[in-house]
C-alpha cells in the first residue's frame, strides 16, 4: 500500500468488510429463525409423546379400576406423572412462542437493515471511493 493511496485502500477494506458483514448476518438471521423452528418442532414432538403416554396410562388406570379390588395406585401415579410432564412441556411451548413473537420485532428491523440500509451505506461508500480515486487521478 503506497502512502498516497492509503486512505482509498482503507475505505475499500472497510467496504469489503461491510459486504462480508451483510452476507454473514443474513445467514445468522436465517439460522436464528431455523433454531426457533427446530425448538418448536422438538417441543411439539415431546408434547405428542407425553400426550400418548398420558392416554395410554389413563386407559391402563381405567382398566385397573374396572377390575375387582386391585391396587391401581401405580397406574394413578403414571397418569399423574404423564400429565405433569405434558403440562411442563406445554408451558415451555407457550414461553417459546411468546419469546419468538417478541423477537420478531428486532428480527424485522434487522432484516430491513440488511436488505435496505446496509446496501445504501455500501453504495454511498463506493461513490465516495470513486470520487477520491477521480480526484487523485486529476491531481
Amino acid at each position: 500500500m503506497t502512502k498516497i493511496h492509503a486512505d482509498i485502500d482503507a475505505l475499500k477494506g472497510f467496504h469489503e468488510a461491510m459486504v462480508r458483514f451483510r452476507h454473514v448476518q443474513r445467514s445468522v438471521a436465517e439460522r436464528g429463525d431455523d433454531e426457533i423452528e427446530l425448538t418448536r418442532a422438538a417441543l411439539a414432538a415431546r408434547a405428542s409423546h407425553w400426550q400418548a403416554r398420558l392416554e395410554q396410562s389413563q386407559a391402563e388406570f381405567d382398566a385397573c379400576r374396572a377390575g375387582p379390588g386391585a391396587d391401581c395406585s401405580g397406574y394413578a401415579r403414571a397418569v399423574e406423572q404423564a400429565g405433569e410432564q405434558l403440562e411442563h412441556i406445554r408451558g415451555w411451548q407457550q414461553r417459546v412462542d411468546e419469546a419468538a413473537g417478541e423477537f420478531r420485532g428486532s428480527a424485522g428491523a434487522f432484516w430491513d437493515l440488511l436488505q435496505n440500509d446496509l446496501p445504501r451505506a455500501e453504495s454511498h461508500l463506493l461513490a465516495l471511493i470513486a470520487d477520491l480515486e477521480a480526484a487523485r487521478r486529476a491531481s
Binding site: 482503507a10 462480508r20 448476518q25 439460522r31 433454531e35 419469546a99
Partner: protein
Amino acid sequence: MIHTRPDRDGQEQLGLLGAAWEEAVPYWQDEVARQFDTGHWTPLVQRSSTYLDALGALMDLLETADRDTDF
C-alpha cells in the same frame, strides 16, 4: 461438525466490521466521514447490537427449553 450459535457468529462479525472501521477512520477525518458516521455507521452498530442481543437472549431461552423438557 462444530455447532456455533448464530448470535455469537453475528457478534464476531460485528467485531470484525468494527475493526475495519477503526482501520479506516485515521484516513478519513473530514465532514463526509462524520456524516457517514452519524448517518450510517452508528445506526448500523446500534441496530445490529440490539438484534444480536435479542437473538442471544432467545438462544439462551431455546437452549433452556430444550434441556428442561428432555426427560
